[in-house]
Symmetry: C2
Subunit: 149 residues, 2 copies
DNA sequence: TTATTTGCAAACCGTTTGCACCATA
DNA sequence: TATGGTGCAAACGGTTTGCAAATAA
């Protein structure tokens, strides 16, 4: 886990892209919050601590680049914001999915390996070659259940 | 399946809401395309055939109402549009999920009952009371695989 | 030096809102 | 008639884009 600057520089150079302080700082910001699901605005605030003059447009452009490079994942929690999180470095790791409290909005991650089997099954019956999946579960977290009593 | 005007009228009246031609026509439009995932703009175009003077604001307000009534489902296919589809009338029916071709954008539905078990399991370990889930799988459809050869 | 990247501000576009008019009950 | 719903246009807010200045290679 964590931010590996050397390998990031290597990736950028191999694609003919320039290594800028902005790009390094955005990736570092996302790496520093591995358990959160940050909006562009939240990333902007984090990066501004180090680079006060950065513009929100650069945040959006960098986010898009990092997604294309597969270094971060896009995430939609249906609250009107697109969110991002640092990708797992080991691509063979279990997928993690999201448990969303419909009352307070809290989001928990959970791991899963059950769906890999389902992927194969669905691929067979539909002819799709499935290479990724995303699962969200909605409900009430423990706290919200207690507060209702 | 299909559009049941009588029961819709009953639901509206029971909530003290008025039965308008706009509301009936929006629900009818969504019912007429049970296998599609319509954007607000697409619903607008469909409804304008019957009610040319309708405004897009009414579409948005009606869609939101229908969601709250549980008659239609919101859907996010990560293409920048929020989409809607008519809900299954039998609430005990299997969930259906979505298989999205990352090349052509085609969307197939598939049924599932495997996840009901997973819901219970996750609920036990996290303390969440899970009452819904949404699963998306991403891959290449048969056509796009053939076209690549 | 030169091709990319950045910051700024304006544009974009899907969605929401305020308000006067209209329709349902 | 009275309450809610509708159509219109303007506002909103997250995201994208055009462009000149700045920077990495």
């Amino acid at each position: 886990m964590g931010y590996n600057e050397e390998s990031f520089i290597k990736i950028l150079k191999s694609k003919g892209l320039k290594v800028t302080n902005q790009r390094k700082t955005v990736l570092k910001a996302l790496s520093s919050k591995p358990d959160q699901h940050l909006t562009a605005e939240e990333i902007y605030e984090l990066v501004r601590v180090d680079i006060p003059e950065i513009g929100i447009a650069t945040i959006y452009r960098t986010i898009q680049l990092l997604c294309e490079l597969g270094l971060i994942d896009k995430l939609n929690l249906d609250d009107g914001y697109v969110r991002y999180e640092i990708g797992k470095e080991d691509k063979n790791e279990h997928h993690h999915h999201h448990l969303i409290c419909v009352n307070c909005g809290k989001v928990l991650k959970f791991d899963d390996d059950l769906l890999d089997e389902l992927e194969k099954q669905v691929g067979k019956t539909t002819g799709f070659i499935v290479h990724d999946h995303e699962l969200k579960m909605y409900g009430y977290c423990r706290d919200c259940q207690n507060n209702r009593k």
